[in-house]
Symmetry: C2
Amino acid sequence: MLLKTHHCGNLSAANIGDTVVLNGWVAVRRDLGGVLFIDLRDRSGIVQVVFNPTFSGDALAIADKARTEYVLAVKGKVVQRDEATVNPNLATGDIEVQVHEIEILNAAKTPPFFIEDGVEIDEQLRLKYRYLDLRRPEMQKTLMLRSKAAKVFRDFLDENGFLEVETPILTKSTPEGARDYLVPSRVHPGEFFALPQSPQIYKQLLMVSGLERYYQIARCFRDEDLRADRQPEFTQVDIETSFLSRDQLLDMMEELAVRVFKETIGVDIQRPFQRLTYADAMGKYGSDKPDLRFGLELVDVSDLVANSGVQVFANVTKKGGQVKALNAKGCGTWSRKEIDDLLPFAARYGAKGLAWIQVKDGEWKGPIVKFFSEEEIAALKERLGAEDGDLLLFSADTKKVVADVLGNLRLKIGRDLGLIDDSVFKFAWVVDFPLLGYDEEAKRYVAEHHPFTRPVEEDLAYFDTDPGQIRAQAYDLVLNGYEVGGGSMRIFKRDVQEKMFQALGFSREEAHEKFGFLLDAFEYGTPPHGGIAFGFDRLIMLLAGRTNLRETIAFPKTASATDLLMNAPSEVDSKQLEDLSIKLAVKEVAAKA
Amino acid sequence: MLLKTHHCGNLSAANIGDTVVLNGWVAVRRDLGGVLFIDLRDRSGIVQVVFNPTFSGDALAIADKARTEYVLAVKGKVVQRDEATVNPNLATGDIEVQVHEIEILNAAKTPPFFIEDGVEIDEQLRLKYRYLDLRRPEMQKTLMLRSKAAKVFRDFLDENGFLEVETPILTKSTPEGARDYLVPSRVHPGEFFALPQSPQIYKQLLMVSGLERYYQIARCFRDEDLRADRQPEFTQVDIETSFLSRDQLLDMMEELAVRVFKETIGVDIQRPFQRLTYADAMGKYGSDKPDLRFGLELVDVSDLVANSGVQVFANVTKKGGQVKALNAKGCGTWSRKEIDDLLPFAARYGAKGLAWIQVKDGEWKGPIVKFFSEEEIAALKERLGAEDGDLLLFSADTKKVVADVLGNLRLKIGRDLGLIDDSVFKFAWVVDFPLLGYDEEAKRYVAEHHPFTRPVEEDLAYFDTDPGQIRAQAYDLVLNGYEVGGGSMRIFKRDVQEKMFQALGFSREEAHEKFGFLLDAFEYGTPPHGGIAFGFDRLIMLLAGRTNLRETIAFPKTASATDLLMNAPSEVDSKQLEDLSIKLAVKEVAAKA
């Protein structure tokens, strides 16, 4: 067999005169009057190889049998192309290879779709033939980017003294988490392993072990109903440290993120990253993962409109709700229809209505204007910086609904108005998340992050008075409207942990039942520790400029958690189930679905 | 909090005069007449810190409360120790830290065992308190070694153009493999995912995708009955390449192995590695993973004894069996009892008896000597190089039993005689494995490696005449009697694959049912490819000089596949089972077991 000396895409004018051997796939084949041109493709790119009676000899007749996606080995001389035939669209477009020896390494059936970028192919078909889909240059580039990013993460963490430690995949069902994937045990009938939702408990145990700095690019599993940006198995860069302050950790992680962006896609990110409290993020952007590439901030006008003639504004403020506004600059010229079209969008996020004012030729127009006094208008004008050409949008509801409605309107208008520069990467830390949220259904507090998140020191007193007020030493890393990382400093003192469990309504027995081994471990000298996990799939998605997680994973599952290539999940032998001491309990209807 | 400026174990005379902050655990605490000495331990090692009324002030009283395994932050000055108190057993033994500030970061209960190396602790207890067991310096060193080894693997593979690609953990049940772990699907009632026994099929599909060089440090799962060197989940460095010859691949992998040994434990390994055929390995060492650190080779004497008066030798050779001998140099002086004691050992490997001859003072002694002619003795003497002081051990049986018996006797005697130098690492490739083995029970051939292993080119004709004769392009990497890696070149031509399936007795339909998606993929232009997988856990075990895989894994499972720390597997809520459309089918007896 002719073994490659060069990669197709790496040949250049520097190779002119060289005899090279290439191995690759037939991307395109053209026969021009007895001369055969083949675009040969490998992982590195494409180069044109030429067969011609003059220099190819027997190789021409053999090459003539090759069809699209055949695998070839060719040997030939690199030559400059005639000026007229130079292809500026191809990296190797100023040269070609005159072949004098060929081997057809393998034949190929006609593929079900074209192996090239920028074609519209049904995703189901792409996933079924993933091995062909992955031949497309843009998919290969994404996988190379992913591999490179993993390398940069590892190199940085290694340089900073982090040890890579593997934690079990066959582990125990997580209390208080999402739904687990279960694995029946053959050796212990009636018992199950669970696949980990994250290595959280193991990484904290490693800190108890004194390992001090741990990382792992870890597979995690959640049996949740899927969305476009969820997969049943996903990858996170999982990190934990001891003896670092929150700010030391965040600093180091910023450095890491900057390095990843620089070394994968060559983009310089400025440090330090902006830090926003959760309260500010929600207040100004209606989101705990704000897209900071543009302004269009939400403005609280509750105080200005509480006594206005707009009945709904007055009512909402009386009931402890909020009235906030968004000044959509330059939208003052929108037609009534354009404005009305925002309503169904807003309604999706819970809006019952959407009040608006247009400022045109110095005049305030819109159905609610007449209910405002001149003073109120002047105050609104000042606070919102309203001027000619502006559109003011109002939402009045509970704090949560207002944030959802205006936060999403902000994103929509920002996109529609072209305020978002797609070449910009805007990182920020969101900090000071609430420690606890009140679950109205369960009538108790639940941990917003997890039950081991450390409270902010000066809020500890609220445990006895108003637990909902306690801020957590938790942080999210936000990029362009996505959460790309998140973590917290952990509780390491027994008395704080007990207060936390009390606040969650767990008796000592319940706490022990759920978290026994970790609480035991914490008794034996736990160092101050904290960590973070980066959503690796999502980060790659953003680095690659994609919008779908499946594009970043070699063999992803569909939204119904199916592997279309392998046809998994699938039925198994009854013998296998018997070995595992389980039986099917499939309802007829479900089975048919 | 006092945040560390230095690691305990890294302090040296170069730091004398420096003020340092250390964070660590109390390893030992000694009170000598009002002066308190604490050995403070972190990941890097141990240093002595001293509290004394002269320079410690209030810190002495605080330190006095600290007990073993308390977590401390101390600030102090590095000073030279008095010559009389220098501790040559400690890396930092010529200095100590005079503490003037201390914080007790956390208290600790008395641990259930001493946190130090070289103590005998029940393994069950160690696994239950793994977070404490991992505090022991030798465990931390092993985890550091493991992390480092992973780094060296990755760096080398990255430099050589391998892409790290993650393949699914939730995948499909493997036909023709070991027993799978199954995962019930909630979304598809009655269907199951399987955890991968290896990424074999995915890595071959990645070659079909044109990715050319793939690697992954991959978690694999086998639900088999466990032995000391098996774990239900284990890690392999999984590698696959296209367009390389077998020898190119083996060369590169040798380079990789050499680099791993050099950069982790500083040992130089000579290249090229010895290459042995499977036939030679079995013939000379009775094993396909021979320990080559010593000789003591098996010698075939069938032809010499076929017509001797030793009835069993004559019978065995007539029935197509074998008679082989081992010359245990220097054991000619063993007592009859010492020789007889070998029999139960040999019997474990199927020996029905064990014939022997001692050469003492020029005379041949032993029960069988009298049945040999003088010519036969002369011939045996020459072939076995027998001389005064030797013990000749004979096994006569089927080829397989002879290999097992003498192969294991060779290892035992080699160890007993001290022929094995534990500081030596002797790598070898075992090549030319048989492609097919005959399964007497199923009355058909089965793949020795897997059904995609490429046959040796010149053996292809045997498919039609004697498939058992076909050698595979498969190879194992052997180190000191352990298989540390194995792989093969793969079939990539359709006609060869069909011959293989025929030989295995699969109809085209059966083959398609079992391997459909892979066979489909192979139709679309499959490159020549092959690969290897290194057993990462076992390699770390050998690098660390351990004999138990569990010592190399942070959170291993016991021989009954239990996680004693987490107490997994465990029972789950009936609601969880209902969601998954399964029921328990636990037999009473099994449940009680």
